[in-house]
Symmetry: C2
Subunit: 613 residues, 2 copies
Amino acid sequence: MTTVASPSSPDHVTTGPIMGSVKVWSSPEGHADIRVPFREIALDPSANEPPVRVYDTSGPYTDPNIHIDVRQGLRPVRAPWIVTRGLPAVRPRAVRPEDNGFAKGENLVPACPAPHVVHEGRAGQMVTQYEFARAGVITQEMIYAAHRENLGRATMVDGAEDRRADGEDFGADIPAFVTPEFVRSEIAAGRAILPANINHPELEPMVIGRNFLVKVNANIGNSAVTSSVAEEVEKMVWSIRWGADTVMDLSTGRNIHNIRDWILRNAPVPIGTVPLYQALEKVGGVPEDLTWDIFRDTLIEQAEQGVDYFTIHAGVRLQHVPLTVNRVTGIVSRGGSIMAGWCLHHHRESFLYEHFEEICDIMRRYDVSFSLGDGLRPGSIADANDAAQFAELETLGELTRVAWAKGCQVMIEGPGHVPMHKIKVNVEKQLRECGEAPFYTLGPLTTDIAPGYDHITSGIGAAMIGWFGTAMLCYVTPKEHLGLPDRNDVKVGVVTYRIAAHAADLAKGHPAAQIRDDAISRARFDFRWNDQFKLSLDPDTACSYHDETLPREAHKNAHFCSMCGPKFCSMRISHDLKANAERMAGLEQKKEEFRSHGNRLYVPVDEAATPAE
Amino acid sequence: MTTVASPSSPDHVTTGPIMGSVKVWSSPEGHADIRVPFREIALDPSANEPPVRVYDTSGPYTDPNIHIDVRQGLRPVRAPWIVTRGLPAVRPRAVRPEDNGFAKGENLVPACPAPHVVHEGRAGQMVTQYEFARAGVITQEMIYAAHRENLGRATMVDGAEDRRADGEDFGADIPAFVTPEFVRSEIAAGRAILPANINHPELEPMVIGRNFLVKVNANIGNSAVTSSVAEEVEKMVWSIRWGADTVMDLSTGRNIHNIRDWILRNAPVPIGTVPLYQALEKVGGVPEDLTWDIFRDTLIEQAEQGVDYFTIHAGVRLQHVPLTVNRVTGIVSRGGSIMAGWCLHHHRESFLYEHFEEICDIMRRYDVSFSLGDGLRPGSIADANDAAQFAELETLGELTRVAWAKGCQVMIEGPGHVPMHKIKVNVEKQLRECGEAPFYTLGPLTTDIAPGYDHITSGIGAAMIGWFGTAMLCYVTPKEHLGLPDRNDVKVGVVTYRIAAHAADLAKGHPAAQIRDDAISRARFDFRWNDQFKLSLDPDTACSYHDETLPREAHKNAHFCSMCGPKFCSMRISHDLKANAERMAGLEQKKEEFRSHGNRLYVPVDEAATPAE
């Protein structure tokens, strides 16, 4: 891993391959124009195994053959597809001083110079992946995402059926092999979304749904003092390097419009935002001063930039607010508390709820997917699954049907803080109320008592809720409840959530999931240390931990490790057992003797003389 | 936290209170002679709440009023109780050169000078907690452990019944209040053990069982080069400081006899060992040279020292070995591979299995509890729940009944590497095969692909298996599979497993578990930052993470935090909502209006004029 300067930029983003893997681009049969990224891990020749292909979220940044220049942005791979859809280019809304918090002069972060043509769908025109799917049209994005889900394999993987049968998927229906038609049908059914704003051509398409690999989202936000735009871009690049499938930009304060521009032009993953945050900035941070017009204008502003999904807290209704009064931790969602504050102050229904159909019309024009926010999610074990949370969830179900009728893609946000025994009902109720729209949860945290370790308290809940049917897991870092995550916190948070997502894929019986586990386990048993590092989620950490105790290169081939040393190495002894396979045959006969012995538990010492005697 | 020198020792162990808590000693009503330790966390006066009492494993080391001198050892609190049982003192087995690996001169770690009288039970005499329990006798240890389980509360906690009803305990039967009689009945039924060697008088008794708080074990081992005995004692002290309920000493190599002596004389928690390891050392590390006589002698050696439980791999039978040949990772348990190697070499049944009744007779004499080892546990997702694993488990069930018949206490060790969907059946089968004897599992790890993060891959499995009914969880550190854990790895491993155990207690509906979650959540909502730190599992880390972003003391009372800042603080807005409680009443009326409005989703803009207009 190296961080290199891009010539035309004074700043740095992390580029270069992930330790032990090579970036490969693979085209689905008959689609040379579609190049899907993977990481390929070549194993030691002694393994006599093919390279292991793994899902790759890291974008062009890990391809040494691609020149990165954050000022130019990434190559707009989707541009030709979008053009063929005849979506007209429009003159974008003019940037206003309030979009950047009235930042001026040297305080104003310059706009990203990367070229950006804004498109917009017309009424009656098919724009969203949902509309295409409903019309039976398979888009290039669907073909791309399908190929990705199969980890590049062109056909059904060996034993796929067995693995599916072996797992417990709680009513999900994961196919042995993902076809573009399957992606289409899942999107058409509302069970999956393919977040892809027509104004985000740099996107490498991916699909979010219960019948696909479980995905992970990482949140980033601008620093109070932004020393450089690349520093903000780097947060996104760093998150996807370790496995974030989507990134939410939760920036507040000055320059958010321009920073978002830099992020989007350089983002190969879907970018999500909470437009309410910027709208609030525009009214000086006073919730009651929010208006529909300001919010509406902010939606268009961000949709034209290319944001792929919006968190919309339209489920926080006036009538729900009283339900939160006796909670232990009240309302812990920023968006939820802002809207509850607005409703309370004006004593009227939420403008998001009242104008929901107009919101749909705007988001459909650009194919911005809905992430219906859970503004009333529980912030403590005590408040889990309470009346306020479930009342909002029922409203989200109502809104989901409206958004679908308007041609929009929808996923649903979920809790929060939930003890293990109350997690499953959250998924069951969400699937029922929201017509199986993809569930997107934060954690949940399974206890409140471990600040500093909430990536773990929530990783437990995330693995379980992913297994039960949640499509995407929003990460939590060790700094949750305490402070702002630094670079290392972000990495630990992402890796922890990749663990949760993968554990869920294994338990659901995803046909390709266990390939990697088996490969690393064989490497472990064969003492192929470097292969073990290369196949792990975080090769750098695995290798450095090993080297702390056994630094020398020679030990990379040692047939033991520092835990037991050669004398006590169970795997080494196991190898001797295996080597004596033919003697094993003899054991069968021995077994017979013992059976004939009546399998007596206690054999008098004279009979059971020890070899020493 | 400070590390102080004990005058008569050149070395250091960590002493001093855990941040924000005070050590208290509480006596059960009518038992002034029994003083049970707790930590009491006093909250900010503004909270107007009583102090929160938490379970305390840390021993006298966190009591500033107790002078620690590792040469003198801890006060033998159980000595008077043991004396009243009329267990004769005996001349201990003479220490032999091989006990310390023939270490000589300056290479020989001196024996611990702390006084130690060795006792031993006679035939026909009641010795074990199981024998007393079966005879209907409530021992002081049972009274002590019962008081501990209730977190010092003298009566049933408010809402205990509600919490039990709220949880899902999968057939466990956790009482609203733990009485000494309940502890006795659980031990008598074999559903719980109270590991307490009569030669470990320094022990603070605790109980392990499905109907009690879920416990955590930490493993320690001597360094290749031991610079001091206190360094070895410190590993134990450090583990229990952060919440290890028991500690296993897995030391190998030289000086293990004397180091074990130092650990036991200074250990307030049950100490477990794997006698097979020392026996193997005595035969130069050659498994096939092991003999029953050497093993038997080692059992007596360690039992006299006061080891509270032995891992005995008697379930690895000759006939099981062939079942492991086609595994991806063979045999990954050291003890399992040693015994399989022995069986294979000699082509005969395991001497542990053949001599099991004699092993029981020895362990009963000192009340050493059995931890029946899972020598064939799976070492990879691929090998989970296979024929070898379950064949051994069935044998362990057979051995459990033999040990009970012999008057011994028994718990059963479990896996290993198991995907989430295969965890529950492990508990169900163990409970069925082993007559509900306590289950004691390592993890399980829910995926193989994250070396460097296996405290997390296994913490997920540990929380789940604890919820399903496992009584004690053996920790896994971040160094698992890679190297030897350092001081920080041990702390992270223990805290991670405290999280898993507590999440399990919450989900099972343990009546007292949620008290701490509620207290910390109220502190969070009230912005009592210091209370939040003090109530957390690791106050030092929580506080330091907070201070990284908001260092000033003033911020400890700030009504916001670094994540959102004052403008965006959802909890702050929530407080305004609460403050407007009476206006809430008005909302009810508003709700009626909207209902009368027909709850229409879409309200035309003219009707829904925004306040700005």
